[in-house]
Amino acid sequence: MVNAEVTYRACDSEYNRLELGSDAGGPKQEIGIVIDNGFMAQTIAKIRLSAPYIAQNTRPGQFVHLRLPGLEAHILRRPFSVYAADARNGEIQLLYQTVGLGTEHLSTLPNGTHVDLIGPIGRGWQPPRDAKRVLLVGGGLGVAPLYSLASTFTTETEVHLVMGAQSADRLICWKPFSTYITEPCLHITTDDGSAGQHCFTTKAVKDLLEIGAFDYIATCGPEPMQKSVAALAAEHQTFCEVSLERRMACGIGACLSCVVNTTSGLQRACVDGPVFNAQEVIW
């Protein structure tokens, strides 16, 4: 594991106490309290929770396993990447898309609701410590775990973000990213051309890779997209990490419901991932 020592940007209030890849506190059960919850776009919402332990121990790329309060017949927890964590005020934020009954119910939780969380879980992003030029590629909600990753780079690193969605109304707000990423490094694509470039994210990635070399690529989003990005990275001999989604029961490495086929055998997305070295994944 690369143990990156990073000096933080002045403006970076989040993750200021966290170290990439360090052995911060492991997963614990924590009852979070909803501070704020609401839609940002068509089917995309953000929930802010007070959860001090998780806020203080989360590394970028990790996730929480959330029990849906008040849905007693839904016995499984739901995994969500930690979008942002503020160690000082003990808050975390999750970005989520309403795709089913669980996430729809999540979007109705009023402030003050107690939410049973387990976190932080998983192997986070492991960018090389000396990366000078990095590329983050997020499709749809896949940008969620990239925001906190973006925050960890120093000003010496040139951070690019390709951010895609089906259409403008499903695009995650890119504004928060501008804290860490300068305008020309922000590349927006939509499948229907309603915002940014009219193409898939992979096309934008391809173009960027052809223009200049990167030391690191991190991607999250639909698996076919991640696979294509991984292939492009391989083509350009660039170290690339992917963040894979699997249906998860336990979320802590016990049940083997979430396995990913890798060159070193079956790995568990929850604890051996969700971030994997792209070249080790057997798609």
Binding site: G26, P27, K28, Q29, E30, I31, R67, E72, A73, H74, I75, L76, R77, D116, I118, R246, R247, M248, A249, C250, G251, I252, G253, A254, C255, L256, S257, C258, V259, L266, V271
Partner: protein, 322 residues
């Protein structure tokens, strides 16, 4: 579910001294347990993961995930689906094989001051035997649980558990290899569970585990596809509790050997229901996923129930249905 578990702060044993006098210990066919609570095979890894949440010595025993002679890779993904008050799984007994199991998992687990029940799988009777033979060389194993009931592998597994003759002969063969407590785990996917139970008792089983998962299926109406890659899987969780209770009740009336009850247990009340129906001990499975503190919370709850109801030895509850 105890409040403690819900609040994520279930530190240590329930140290209320007024509860101290309750004797929670049970003997499951030769396996001595300090309390009647173990975990269901396959839902607890090999303990390490949950040891981050609580000390494993709070439980009566730990049951390992299924172990086979060679490594098994299990089934394709998706392997799970949520259903109403339950879940389907088609893990397919993925495991690293008995050698790696012994060197990696078992060596850690046997230092946790808790009896270890090793769950044994095979495609054929000779594979079950080979696993047991290998495990006999390890001193720290407290008991075996023979899984003749897994619905998630194509040959072997459940086929032994659906035919009373096959169940008899595989049990008898294993019996001849070991003097350790031999628990045989049955599948609910049969017409007559009593017939199978009697067969394994006759073959020398010391105890019976009931129930493994119920064969089920989930379909995604939008994508028009089965949710699981393997199409069918095993149903577990609260949804199946009534089925499990019925089988424990039925089998208890037909055999003399003790029963390890499981299927949807989430709380001490659930555990008591199984004991009243005839179980000597109980296992917590799917509930671990919902709440990682489920198993110790059940232990605490059993102690409270006994104290409240004036029960001095928990064994009084077994089969005590009126």
């Amino acid at each position: 579910m105890s409040k403690r578990g819900l609040l994520g702060d279930p530190t240590g044993h329930s140290d209320d001294h007024s509860l101290g006098s309750v004797d929670l210990s049970v003997n499951l066919g030769g396996l001595q347990m300090r309390n009647p609570v173990t975990v269901a095979s396959g839902t607890f890894g090999n303990g390490k993961q949950y040891a981050e949440f609580f000390s494993l010595d709070r439980l009566g025993a730990i049951t390992t995930k299924g172990v086979s002679l060679e490594p098994w890779i299990g089934n394709d993904n998706p392997r799970i689906a949520e259903t109403a008050s339950g879940m389907l799984n088609s893990i397919g007994l993925q495991n690293p094989g008995v050698e790696t199991f012994i060197s990696e998992d078992l060596s850690w687990l046997t230092n946790q001051d808790v009896p270890v029940i090793v769950n044994v799988s095979g495609h054929s009777a000779s594979e079950y035997l080979a696993v047991i033979e290998r495990l006999e060389a390890v001193e720290t194993i407290a008991a075996y649980e023979l899984n003749i009931s897994c619905p998630n592998i194509d040959c072997g597994g459940m086929s032994f558990g659906t035919d009373h003759q096959a169940a008899f002969s595989v049990t008898q063969l294993c019996r001849q290899k070991t003097g350790r407590p031999l628990i045989v785990k049955l599948t609910p996917n049969v017409t007559d569970i009593g017939e199978i139970a009697k067969a394994v008792e006759a073959a020398g089983a010391n105890a019976i585990s009931l129930i493994n998962t119920v064969l089920g299926m989930a379909i995604d109406s939008r994508r028009r596809k089965p949710v699981l890659a393997r199409k069918v899987g095993g149903l577990s969780g609260p949804a199946i509790k009534p089925i499990a209770l019925r089988m424990v009740y039925e089998v208890h009336q037909q055999v003399q050997i003790p029963l390890l009850g499981m299927g949807g247990i989430c709380s001490a009340e659930d555990a008591i229901e199984f004991m009243l129906a005839g179980a000597t001990a109980v296992a917590i499975g799917t509930a671990n996923f919902t709440n990682p503190y489920s198993a110790p919370a059940v232990v605490d709850g059993l102690r409270e129930y006994c104290a409240e109801q004036g029960i001095s030895r928990i064994t009084e509850l077994t089969g005590a249905l009126q």
